[in-house]
């Protein structure tokens, strides 16, 4: 095969986007950490850049190795991988190290591993495997299986507790769209979310009154148009709504951690606070606003230099880009992610095999959810839940996971155009 053909087949665009993001990430992590002598906990910031560089190199090596694996291998071992990660998640409660109130890390010396990140990959593999096994006959039983496979790691992660990572698993339910779950299901989820927010904003008593009033009105409207089952339907929905309100109220008070409650309240505008809980958001918004159109210039952002934004190298790396490169920089970053996600979705739809297709969609779902929630919480659109920005944030586990996602995606994509899906692995080196 000639080089041209290989270039055409290989999704070079995604790879270049990925490498570009990594380069921006390196520059930004450096800009955030280079002048900081010590962090508030007295830990040195200086090695962060080198650790990040090491993570990137490690991720590239592991990514290339995975790229070379056969797809069949992944299909066969996805259950085992899923099982191992579930065991690791359970093991966290015994051996895990607690950082910032969440027991979500294994630590070996200076290297930490976050199984919840790996769980994203294995869960997608597992879901793809279920789809693969079910072939075209997708039944309700399979839907429950899929939901169960998603819910298990999600539940374990919630227990750590790591609310943010758990939330991203919800996006995986998008995979079921058109495969057992209709629009009604998603609207129901949306409705539940609205009810939850309402309970928080108005309180359970007033929310109940609002629901009863609405139900009363709907009942009359439905009866007027002589829709069948109107009474039963209304009563059912109302009862469910009231139940959800009760559960929300209970869960909010008893299940959620106090810092989550605070963050939610600040986000919903129930609390005004620029110093404690709102401080993070306030500072990050200020930094982003400082950027203006062209930014302050690299290594010149006052808020970046001033160490105003806690965890800036981590979940708030976007503020560094927005402040130092301005609106154009943010646009570049959002553009890269959007095009990457779009690319993955469109190429995924070309797959005939369901395993590959669902896996790629899953990858897109996770990428999209992380990208949206992270930037959203940076600019105050989404409540503050600790979600890293893939390929940008400092942190090895996340980078490794998403690099593996990409490597597998690229490998599948390349082999889609090959004669057989189980043929010899493509030679990456020949391509590049």
């Amino acid at each position: 095969m000639s080089l041209n053909v290989h270039l055409y087949r290989f999704d070079l665009f995604s790879l270049i986007s990925y490498l570009l993001l990594l380069m921006i990430s390196l520059v930004m992590v450096h800009s955030v950490t280079h002048d900081k002598v010590f962090s508030p906990d007295g830990l040195s910031y200086a090695p962060l850049f080198y650790k990040h560089l090491f993570s990137i190199l490690l991720a590239l090596v592991v990514g290339i190795s995975i790229y070379l694996l056969r797809i069949n291998f992944l299909i066969n071992y996805s259950i085992i991988a899923y099982g191992i990660v579930i065991v690791m998640l359970v093991g966290l409660f015994v051996f895990g190290q607690s950082i910032a109130g969440s027991q979500s890390w294994y630590r070996l010396g200076s290297i930490g591993l976050q199984p919840s990140e790996l769980a994203k990959l294995t869960t997608v593999l597992m879901v793809a495997k279920i789809f693969h096994n079910s072939h075209r006959k997708f039944k309700r039983k399979n839907v429950i299986w899929v939901l169960g496979v998603i819910a298990l790691p999600m539940f374990l992660i919630l227990l750590q507790p790591d609310f943010g990572t758990a939330i991203t698993f919800l996006f995986l339910s998008l995979l079921l769209y058109g495969e057992g779950l209709g629009l009604v299901s998603y609207l129901s989820i949306f409705y539940v979310g609205i009810l939850f927010m309402m309970t928080l904003v108005f309180g359970p008593l007033r929310s109940t009154l609002i629901i009863l009033l609405l139900a009363y009105l709907t009942y009359f409207i439905l009866r007027r148009y002589n829709i069948q089952w109107s009474r039963t339907l209304s009563i059912l929905i109302t009862a469910c709504s009231l139940g959800i309100i009760l559960i929300s109220s209970f869960a909010y008070q008893n299940v959620m951690e106090s810092h989550h409650r605070n963050r939610l309240e600040v986000f919903l505008g129930l609390k005004k606070d620029n110093q404690n809980i709102g401080y993070h958001l306030h500072q990050s918004k200020m930094a982003i606003a400082d950027g203006r159109l062209l930014g302050t210039g690299l290594f010149k952002g006052p808020r970046t230099l001033g160490n105003f934004i806690p965890e800036q190298h981590n979940d708030y790396i976007f503020t560094a880009v927005a402040e130092q490169w301005g609106f154009l920089g943010s646009l570049l970053l959002i553009g890269l992610y959007t095009l990457l996600v779009y690319r993955v979705i469109t190429r995924a739809s070309l797959h005939r095999s369901r395993f590959e297709k669902i896996f790629s969609y899953g990858f897109a779902c996770f990428l999209l959810s992380h990208f949206f929630i992270n930037i959203g919480m940076n600019i105050g659109l989404v409540p503050t839940i600790g979600i890293p920005l893939p390929y940008m944030s400092y942190g090895g586990s996340n980078l490794l996971t998403f690099t593996l996602f990409l490597a597998i995606y690229l490998s599948m994509d390349y082999r889609r155009l090959s004669v057989k899906s189980s043929s010899t692995p493509p030679n990456l080196f020949r391509v590049i």
């Binding site: 982003i288 606003a289 006052p302 897109a364």
Partner: protein
């Protein structure tokens, strides 16, 4: 709709929502954030230390010192043991409570002073205990440190700026800055205060400095305050101050060859150091309300006295210049002079004494000068013309003039002219004998001790003087007085006989007490009748004692004027003080210890209390 479509729509919606929000925040700036200024950039005013002041030999007169004020912010106060705290800071419990109440009345959120001017040692021990008392803190401030208490009359004093001065447009002052209120401190305020710098810098979230803002592009550099070198001789100033103990009056000493003021003493005075604490209004008020001693009244610069017989020197010079008399002219004196049918001016010369101009100075003969003056005034077509001519000569010696020296206080004195007398005498036909008091320096003439000293310097120089001034160098740059040389209207050949008379005054004449071996001093005594309005009646008080002198005779190094209020005759106080000053300045030591002690310990307080006794009193005892 398939998964693909749903995901693509979701992706598009999410991207657009994010871009829209970022556009809002970054471009439209809906937040109204004023870039980075609000929080991260701090400004710091950098205050230069006030300039130091040195005397002519480089001895330190004024520098700066640190004092601590104990401040309170009432809103931050917690319950505390008032008795213990009051003991710690050394005031009574009720005082402390009062002060806190006053602070509360002023403002609960702003700081007020509880105690001012804590010494270094006291502040250190207090600072250790202060953590137990939230709401209190120590504030550091720089104030003046006066190394001499004798120089207030020319140095002046500083105190804290008032709110009005801070509020003025473009005011360089901020709270607790000090500003010169009088003397050199006021005159050279702009040089002494320097210019505050402003520094802009960025701080991190722990309020630690990270870097300067825009590499200091917008910083305003600090301009260091200038140190001043005065023309004053610190030792001479101190000595003059001591000599004037318990006396009212002034001493001014000038170097004739340059116009540099060597000493300027006015007593009674004040303590600059106590005055600079503006909160201590008690001291200021006590001075301000002392209408008898009038400590803020600078007698050396502002007091207008009659010059008395010292003025005969000038009248003699004018007589010679106008050829009214020559060195050969003799006038007879018979215990005085009958200048009008029933008016007689007494003199001490025995019957039939014939005096020439030199003898008239050394004997201070009233008759001679009365005759000279009447002939001078009557020599022209009208007395106005003659008085104007005389006035012109007198003014050329700096009399009746502010002299334009570099201190913010002063008086012009008064030298009458023809119009003045024409108005007074109106329809009356007046002649020289009408204004004959001017001949002996009484009458309408008023001069300040500064003018008297300056006039002496002009005589010492034989016909010119330099504008008197107090500052030799600003920083390292010598002060320039291009227009400072003033030439008098008297030809220099006429000074010889007068100066000879002044020399003989010391050796053989009225002021033999002022004679110092090895120094040729020239001087002229003066005893000035003076009156005040007491209970609505013009009452005569004991004469003022006046003396002018310069030395050495041929190469004058110092010219001095001494004025002692109600000191009786000249040789009693003024002449000895002047000669001691000259001796101190020229030789550095005093041989005549007895005289010195008499001057240092002599007190005129009893004399000053006489008009206050409410009963009749005798003068000139």
């Amino acid at each position: 709709m398939t998964s693909k479509k749903l995901l693509i729509i979701l992706t598009a919606v999410i991207s657009l929502v994010l871009i829209f929000n970022l556009f809002n925040i970054q471009i439209i700036n809906t937040w109204g954030i004023n870039y980075t200024d609000r929080i991260t950039i701090r400004t710091q005013k950098v205050k230069p230390e006030r300039g130091e002041i040195y005397d002519r030999y480089g001895n330190l007169l004024v520098t700066n010192k640190v004092i601590y004020n104990l401040m309170v912010i009432p809103n931050e106060l917690e319950k505390f043991d008032t008795i213990k705290f009051a003991q710690t800071i050394g005031i009574s419990t009720s005082d402390l409570k009062n002060q806190i109440q006053q602070a509360k009345n002023y403002s609960s959120f702003l700081s007020s002073e509880i105690r001012t001017d804590l010494s270094d040692a006291a502040s250190v021990s207090l600072n250790e205990k202060l953590w137990q008392y939230p709401g209190f803190y120590l504030e550091k401030n720089l104030v003046r440190d006066y190394k001499t208490t004798a120089a207030y009359s020319l140095l002046g004093y500083t105190n804290e700026v008032t709110q009005d001065e801070i509020n003025q447009q473009n005011s360089p002052y901020s709270l607790r800055d000090h500003i010169g209120r009088s003397g050199i401190e006021k005159q050279y305020e702009s040089q002494l205060k320097g210019h505050k710098g402003v520094r802009y810098f960025l701080v991190d979230k722990f309020n630690r400095e990270i870097s300067s803002y825009e590499k200091g592009e917008f910083d305003i550099p600090i301009e260091k305050a200038e140190n001043l070198t005065l023309t004053i001789d610190k030792n001479l100033q101190q000595y003059g101050f001591d000599l004037m103990n318990d006396k009212r009056g002034a001493i001014v000493a000038i170097e004739p060859q340059s116009g540099e003021v060597l000493a300027l003493i006015s007593r009674p005075g004040y303590d600059s150091d106590s005055l600079q604490r503006s909160k201590d209004r008690k001291y200021f008020n006590s001075l301000y309300n002392d209408t008898l001693n009038r400590p803020f009244y600078n007698r050396a610069l502002q007091a207008e006295y009659a010059p008395g017989s010292t003025f005969k020197v000038l009248n003699g010079l004018i007589g010679l210049h106008e050829k009214i008399v020559t060195t050969q002219t003799n006038f007879t004196c018979n215990y005085g002079y009958q200048y009008a049918p029933n008016a007689h001016m007494a003199c001490r010369c025995p019957l039939g004494t014939r005096n020439n101009i030199t003898q008239s100075i050394l004997k201070s003969c009233n008759s001679f000068h009365a005759k000279l003056y009447t002939q001078l005034i009557d020599s022209e077509r009208s007395p106005e013309i003659a008085v104007n001519k005389w006035n012109h000569h007198v003014m050329s010696f700096g009399m009746g003039d502010y002299l334009n020296y570099d201190l913010p206080q002063g008086s012009s004195g008064f030298i009458p002219n023809g119009d003045y007398y024409s108005k007074i005498y109106d329809d009356f036909f007046w002649t020289g004998s009408s204004i004959i008091s001017n001949a002996i320096g009484q009458g309408e003439i008023l001069v300040t001790p500064m003018q008297l000293a300056n006039f002496t310097a002009a005589v010492a120089n034989r016909g010119f003087y330099y504008k008197p001034h107090f500052v030799k160098k600003i920083g390292q740059t010598p002060t320039q007085f291009n227009d400072s040389k003033r030439i008098t209207t008297i030809d220099s050949i006429h000074f010889g006989p007068i100066i000879e008379g002044m020399h003989l005054t010391i050796t053989n004449g009225t002021a033999r007490i002022a004679n110092v071996e090895a120094i040729d001093i020239c001087g002229k005594s003066g005893t000035v009748e003076n009156f005040i309005l007491l209970h609505g009646k013009k009452t005569q008080l004991t004469d003022h004692s006046v003396f002018i002198a310069f030395a050495p005779k041929d190469d004058p190094k110092v010219a001095i004027a001494v004025y002692v209020e109600n000191g009786y005759w000249s040789a009693r106080w003024a002449a000895p003080i002047a000669s001691l000053m000259i001796e101190k300045y020229l030789t550095g030591q005093i041989q005549r210890k007895n005289l010195e002690n008499r001057m240092l310990e002599g007190s005129l307080v009893a004399e000053y209390l006489k008009p206050l006794s409410g009963t009749g009193f005798l003068i000139n005892q």
